[in-house]
């Protein structure tokens, strides 16, 4: 763990590793398509949305960690990547805490 960056300047998972990640992405795409056609509301309302987003997040993590080499990047890159989602969640949650608590009125439709 000491100075990982210097030891691993060209480090990544190699061609077999890239193909495995590619395989995961293709399987994820097929899975998200198949699942979208099933009615999952019996689990809980909106389960379809949850599953679709969960698959999308998994695919995104694979691309970021391995294709974009975040896995072997300095901590500063990790910080940038994670903060972007933090800010994004602020944008979503602050917007929605307004919209979700509005009644019907002038600005409702």
């Amino acid at each position: 763990m000491a100075e990982p960056h210097i030891e691993s300047q060209h480090m990544h998972i190699g061609i077999p590793g890239y193909l495995v990640v590619f395989g995961i992405l293709v399987v994820g795409t097929i899975l998200t398509f198949v699942v979208a056609l099933q009615d999952l509301d019996w689990i809980f309302p909106g389960a379809n949305t949850f599953v679709a987003l969960a698959i999308a997040f998994t695919k995104m993590s694979c691309v970021m960690l391995f294709f974009m080499h975040v896995r072997w990047s300095p901590k500063l890159i990790w910080l940038a990547a994670i903060c972007s989602f933090f800010w994004l969640s602020i944008m979503f949650s602050f917007t929605m805490q307004d919209y979700l608590t509005r009644g019907l009125g002038v600005f409702s439709t």
Partner: protein
């Protein structure tokens, strides 16, 4: 700094060939370049995030209209495009891999493949947009294909003025002749989900299927029945968001292809090697980012709500 201070007095300073003069060493240069690129990507995430927020707000308000809009999109084309982009991401990752290993020809081959997949994506996107244009689903009046049925005047009433087009289609299976003399936005698939919900509410009066927003958004306040024109306006919002998000994404693909062209020229000249490959890696980050945006666009625009209409 110690190294630097002594090096001023030396006549010949060893310089790694790819090192720009403002950096101490290659490691510092690479880190600076990648943190700069990541800052750019963070602002891109926020930039797309604004549109995703619009999507979130509208989808939350009018899930039925959005489900019907999603269901109309060509899911086979969207699915194919997702696969095409994933393959192009793989070839992009391999471009970086080969650049780091001094394999110029492999690198050029991978760049060409990445560009081909990028172009395939844009071509499929074009086919999809064309389909919407023919169907009258571009949300701007006059931007759709103008269809004038023989025997109709150009001053024929607008489809929402006659009001009965979509309602009559709900009952019968036969296709109504398409008439769109002014290239207006048209929605000809009715509002099955809303009328189903109304029927369900009628069967059990205690059950609320439609939300308050949907009730105000779709229904005629006097009759309590579906107002096809109001419903069409919600579908129109969906298509606005669809065109804004996919259009912005397509623009990023075009910029990416420009970057790839430049990379191809540089790679052809043999600029990149195991010492200096930052431009390849940074273009790769951009390309993967565009892929990630599509990874989210595909389920959000094409798939969500599809299960509601899958049965019938």
């Amino acid at each position: 700094m110690a190294n630097h201070a002594t090096s001023y007095s030396d006549k010949f300073v060893y310089h790694e060939p790819g090192l720009q003069h403002q950096f101490e060493d290659m490691k510092q240069q690479e880190e600076s370049v990648s943190i700069g690129m990541w800052m750019f990507l963070v602002q891109e995430i926020m930039f797309f995030g604004g549109l995703f927020t619009v999507y979130l707000v509208f989808r939350f308000r009018f899930p039925m209209a959005f489900s019907m809009g999603s269901n109309h999109l060509n899911v086979i084309m969207g699915f194919t495009n997702t696969l095409v982009l994933i393959v192009s991401s793989l070839t992009m990752a391999l471009t970086v891999y080969f650049a780091q290993r001094n394999k110029r020809n492999w690198q050029i081959g991978m760049i060409v493949l990445t560009m081909l997949f990028g172009l395939t994506f844009l071509y499929i996107k074009y086919l999809e947009y064309h389909e919407k244009y023919v169907d009258g689903l571009v949300p701007v009046a006059g931007w759709n294909r103008k269809v004038k049925l023989p025997g109709t005047e150009l001053s024929a009433p607008l489809p929402f003025e006659t009001g009965a087009v979509a309602a009559s289609e709900q009952g019968g299976e036969e296709e109504k002749p398409y008439n769109n003399p002014r290239g207006e936005f048209q929605w000809r698939e009715g509002s099955k989900l809303v009328s189903d919900a109304l029927a369900e509410e009628k069967a059990n009066p205690n059950k609320k299927v439609l939300t308050e927003y949907e009730r105000a958004g779709y229904l005629d306040p006097t009759t309590g029945l579906v107002d096809e024109y109001r419903f069409q306006e919600k579908i129109r919002s969906f298509f606005w968001i669809y065109f804004a998000l996919t259009g912005l994404h397509a623009l990023h693909m075009i910029i990416g292809l420009g970057l790839m062209t430049w990379l191809l020229l540089q790679a052809f000249k043999g600029t990149f090697n195991s010492e200096y490959y930052s431009p390849v890696e940074m273009s790769g980050l951009y390309w993967h980012f565009v892929d990630i945006v599509w990874i989210f666009l595909f389920p959000l625009l094409y798939l969500l709500g599809r299960h509601l209409l899958a049965g019938g």
